[in-house]
Amino acid sequence: MRSDLALIRRWVPEGAHILDLGCGDGALLDTLAREKGVSGYGLEIDPEGITACMARGVNVIEQNLDQGLANFDDNAYDLVIMTQALQALRRPDLMLDEMLRIAEECIITFPNFAYWRHRFYLGFKGYMPVSKSLPYAWYDTPNIHLSTFNDFERLCRDKDLIIRDQAVGNGDHEAHWSAKLWPNLFGETAVYRIGRHGA
């Protein structure tokens, strides 16, 4: 399992009603349903991911996140999860508002653009970074809004959101101590648990 998914598992309460935005092949929802008895839906647009979800018995809705989440009611869910999709959206900031309208808490993971390997690529080689977490060329990447730990935390501050937890994912294994100490430099994947005031 991807390291960010393993981290998320710990933060999901037993029996939660959740929405997984960009759920891929449904592996996370499937695991959470079996281990924690969660219910809910995954949203996806990739045909192969959708078929894989159906084969697993995971509820999947074909829906383009850029067209909004108006079909989900306020506070209808305990938790909204979005793994590795925020950077591919047209307006990540508006999506954050939507996620916290639907649930009081959300979990977000995204590739850290300030990861040292990415900095090395851009800073020394002079090319747009390509890595395990950013596997695309500049011309065909779906990742149109890349950000860093620092950028994301600034957005949360501007929106007056509460950062309840922050963690670092590195590839398929637990993060090294250096990444925990200096996430913006050594963390490959950013993992956040955020909430809103007055909930």
Binding site: P47, T51, C53, M54, A55, N59, I61, N71
Partner: protein, 400 residues
Amino acid sequence: MIVQDLSTSQSTDTTMSKIPSDSVGLVTPQTAHFDTPLTLACGRTLPSYDLVYETYGELNAERSNAVLVCHALSGHHHAAGYHHEDDRKPGWWEAHIGPGKSIDTNRFFVVSLNNLGGCHGSTGPCSTDPETGRVWGPDFPMMTVTDWVHSQARLADRLGIERFAAVAGGSLGGMQVLQWTLAYPERIANALIIAATPKLSAQNIAFNEVARQAIRSDPEYYGGRYHEHDAIPRRGLKLARMIGHITYLSEDSMGYKFGRNLREDDFHFGYDVEFQVESYLRYQGDTFSTSFDANSYLLMTKVLDYFDPADIHGGDLATALAPANCPFLVVSFSSDWRFPPSRSEELVDALIQADKSVSYARIESPHGHDAFLLPEPRYQSVFSAFMGRIARDLSLKEAH
């Protein structure tokens, strides 16, 4: 009980024929007669009736692998296989029912019937009213999707099926599936609703009304008593089918198939067939007008118009869906403008609001509403994945 007769429905001996190996092969329709009166939504009662049906595959010992297939406006019980070695065409859902297909007859036992009011053998306007001894004709009681579902449940009783592993259908067939989840939630384990809508739009009803007017204004209609005048309202039926057919195809598929192609090289500057699309529509209309009963067609369009399970809940579909408790698969097609994806999404959104288990796929297809009948790789993979999960769940239960 007629359960022991089920094996006669399907012959697996296709060795000598040109019938493809992924077909259920030669099939024979059967008739079930019912003497218990059926009270209908319109307030009238059918004292007795026949239902014609076909079955494919084998019912397992637990009777847990039955799949009910519901037909659309001009459909019937012949959903898969062939009636004769030299049949030109197989059943209407041949693309999706058969060994190794989405509804895999190696694993599932499929039941497909002709609905009441139809004209393919089940009791309908062409049948004789036992009380008067006359052909029912226009006096045949008006049907609703709800009435159909009740009659289907009685057929299930007869076949010894307590609970369907799945009920599946496209278009008007999908409406029957939806009604199953509301009327008999304990008797349906999975619902597959394809290219359907929770209710017709004003535009849908308008098209139906044009079709009805075409039939009823044909001088050969005789107020629906054409049988007694040895007449058939062919022109009306033809027009009705032509207008219907336009709504089943998409602008793109028509353009691709016919474009502005002419039958001959030049214009004739007259009203005979000049464009290929005219020829095609006339052919479709002519064929239909000799094979479908006018009163049945009128009735089927009204069944469509009346369907609206949310109506008794003030239009709140999510509230109407409360009794449903099985997983749903909803599928729509991008170029379907009869029941476009937005209509399927109406249903999906209500299911989500009602916290029901639902998956939804919007298939890219140029074939308009007709896409639900056709093979298309992504449609097939979604359909197979959902049915495969049902089969897997069943075998888990059987293993215990």
